[in-house]
Symmetry: C2
Subunit: 261 residues, 2 copies
Amino acid sequence: MEKLYVIKIGGNIIDDDAKLSAFLSDFSNINGKKILVHGGGKLATRLAEKLGVEQQLVEGRRITDAETLKIVTMVYAGYINKNIVAALQGYHCNAIGLCGADGDVILAHKREHPVLDYGYVGDVDAINTVLIRSLLNQNIAIVFAPITHDQQGQLLNTNADTIAQEVAKGMSKEYDVSLVYSFEKSGVLLDANDDSTVIDRISPSYYQQLKTKQKIFAGMIPKLDNAFTALNSGVKKVIIGKAENLEQLVNGSSGTTIENE
Amino acid sequence: MEKLYVIKIGGNIIDDDAKLSAFLSDFSNINGKKILVHGGGKLATRLAEKLGVEQQLVEGRRITDAETLKIVTMVYAGYINKNIVAALQGYHCNAIGLCGADGDVILAHKREHPVLDYGYVGDVDAINTVLIRSLLNQNIAIVFAPITHDQQGQLLNTNADTIAQEVAKGMSKEYDVSLVYSFEKSGVLLDANDDSTVIDRISPSYYQQLKTKQKIFAGMIPKLDNAFTALNSGVKKVIIGKAENLEQLVNGSSGTTIENE
């Protein structure tokens, strides 16, 4: 099967023009099929402040009322997405920016929660692999903004990590998919305060050992659980590491690689 | 050749939620290949006001400084474009929203002017017909936001009428293209104040007669000159009429049809 990289870029890079440029230059140099998923960074929060739209965050998730949805649609699907695409074109990487409504590429439903109303937040139901494959086959890199839709005219704000995971899972029947989460640390660390203690490789059995010995920083456990869920759904590897080292993450010489035995 | 409709929707419809919904429902009912090009309406101006970004208009064109480019990218390529796409999906019309940077679909250059600095305003150089055809062949309607790029990382604000015309011209080698300009009047009028005086059909020779007899409202002359330029570049017909009558415009029973003898 052909290789496909699905790469999630975190907000800390989005917020830093120089780092973002360097990252996009590295992304444009990756050979083969590739998909970039971006989050929002602080731009949406800052715009909301300027416009006097009050932001509520519950458990790290933005409560998306109608005004907030308008702002994230503008910032994520407009400003950030189109600037990333234009920058990639500048690096001679043909790219197309999509939100989930475009070509019906990511179908979601409004989140139902027994207690909390998240507002216009979407949980992903399906990925349109036909359109994605058609674009990849034209050697176009796809850049996803974290906005989906419900097929009934409603846009929905959706977690970018989740989009990356769902796209990687959806494409794994047709491609040998590596899912790369780039963030501010060098990988999964044995000592959360020491960036030199990166674990190179985690298999399911080793993960059980690490958890039993309480060697994994609690904040990493949901990320790792998600990584193993992705592997169980057909994704070949999940790689977690520093955005600045994208080239090394992709060739396996940096970061933590999570894969089956 | 297969038929293709390239339809420009004016700002007055964008600004009116009920009219926009009705228009998009009509658009979704058009059989066959179709492209929608939208302008910006008053939303960008209103957002600029709220954010304290001063707007300059010269000869009806917005002077696009860096802050204004940010706003139009958010509003046109983000908010308006994605809401139109989501609404079309709600009407069971598969659609994809693009700006010119996406898939390198509309290449432009920053406008040079001997006296006036328009800022980040783009004049169109080329249309990527390969990607457009590939999407149309997947029965996806394309929705263009009036933002282009220069292939060097720079987004550019571009007149939506011009985008519609350039896309229509670019596609006319491969399709039987009808270019539809929908606006607030019922068509080209013999009496600018009487909406019942629509001229059904204008050929080049009839246009010369009308101009000689000064029967054409001066404001319509640039639009009509552009229409004939489009015809001379291979577009089959240009139809000008009321957005509310989209179905009738497309089947030729409303508006003014401009075509060669």
